[in-house]
Amino acid sequence: MGDGTVARQKQLILVFSRVWAWVFLAGLIAFFATSVNIQSRGGVNFLTIRNSQNILMAIVPVLLMGLGQTFVVIAAGIDLSVGWVMGLSSVVSAMVIVALTDRGTYEPLAIVIGCLAGVVAAIIPGLINGVIIATLRIPSFIVTLGMSFIARGVAFLLSGGNVVGGQPQGVRDLGNEALLYLISGSHGGLYFLRPPAVTGEALRQLDRILQWPVVITFVLLLIMLFVLHKTQFGRHVYAIGGNREAALRAGIPVDRHIIVLYALSAATAGIAGVLSTARFSGGSSIAGDPLLLSSIAAVIIGGVSMFGGEGSVSGTLIGALIIAVMTTGLVMLNVQPFWQYIVVGIVVILAVLIDQARDLIIGRMEAG
């Protein structure tokens, strides 16, 4: 009997440590849904389509930077350069698009080339990070910190510190238009791919559902989820993070793998930069830096161990969602978003504590 209870308790603790972030997120949403409504005497609703889409748009850059970071941190590294790499990518993509459209290149082609150029511009510092970290064995936080300064400098040099504007309409559409359009109310309707030409009250009721940056991000999320949890590449990420020496002895090309991981991290940051260019119709070197710590926080809240070897892509998604829900909810409650810092800080520490407490409790149960 005693054994069964212990096993059940153990199971319960394991389950809790795995799902607490989901529960916390659900609790946060429930809290905002009720408190926003009560505070505004029913005048403001948190649970609206518009808000859900706002939150999804808000997580795009944090999640993208966090996705690559998840891989890097599981492999027992860290990439501090993604913030400025995102800015660099934003600047480069905007400059290329402007340069091409000015020369009369077919607009969609110019945009595609520009986006690719932005991602490539991001991958280059990522590759350099990876090569230095893998071959020279310099700690990743030092190398990527250095690279963040370099990326920042290059981004400023290229752009002259200015926002690279003059983007064609297509860029803005990429960043702001959506898969679906919903007009609620009596004259409402659902429109696919193309925004309906409406004005007045109908325009006011128009919600963009699944805007392109969100669609792109979630496609990438699914790919990364698949790669990390279902492929040999992903398995090797865990192996390297768990025991690098063992991975090496098992014949895993560890150095090459690490180089690829930093390139991947830079690439997702690069995509975030390109999408930032699109959303704000302009390339800005400062686009990513303010979000760097949020993205790392999302990764930690999601349960990725900073010692490597542990974590998941879905965890990072939750981490990013918690942060975005908090920002939106606090603004709607008309509480200064500074509180967000305090709560995120607490949640980050809590996330790590829960992991440690779990190991401690289960360890004690097994010992005695």
């Binding site: 040999q232 090797h236 865990y238 993070g241 025991n243 063992a246 002895r249």
Partner: protein, 251 residues
Amino acid sequence: MEPMLSVRNLVKRFGGLTAVNHVSLDVYPGEAVGLVGDNAAGKSTLIKCISGVYQADEGEIFFRGERAHFARPIDARRAGIETIYQDLALAGNLGISANIFMGREVKRKYLGGMVHTLDETFMNEASRKVLDTLNIHFANFGEKIEKLSGGQRQAVAIARAVYWQAKLMIMDEPTNNLGVVEQHKVLDLIGKLREEQVPVILISHTLPDVFAVTNRIVVMHRGRRVAEKRTSETNSHEIVQYMVGALDDTR
């Protein structure tokens, strides 16, 4: 019978220190050789030369009749020399089957080979099978390695070597930090390996263990091979004499 491994006059120096001094060693199929000696006798250095961690300064290594040059540990592993170190070379955050197949994962192909996924079902089945043949049974097969006991981890490492058909096993202090029951398990496994005709080199400070499973004992002292005895023709008192330098067959 031709030796599986033949080490001829191996020398390894570190600066002015000669860690391994003209050592020769033969290991035959189905044999378990004990390699003993005090600390700094040169056992570990010798092993590392064989397994590709170090490169010898002089001398030759023949493996399965061919001259072997192992630039890296992975080369030795590919040739069939499996070394089970004290840190076990397992990833604690992964499960049993993931460790047995680490670096050599079995994949399933989709979309004409464009997408590969891990074939977990196959790897789990194969892992269970190899554990069964070694008579190792886990109640907690799905657990991460770090949740297993020391003996269980040794068992996984040995099972991995067996699954990948190691031609020679080198075990460095495999019974350290293990409970009595687990020590016996590991020693049983060494016996099993011999039955499978896989020769074993066993490095250990625990002489009773060495006497229990080996059929030959090689003693090293200050980098030199000072004695080689059939296990049945010696005793631990004599071996200790060699280990501390009181006896020396080469003098």
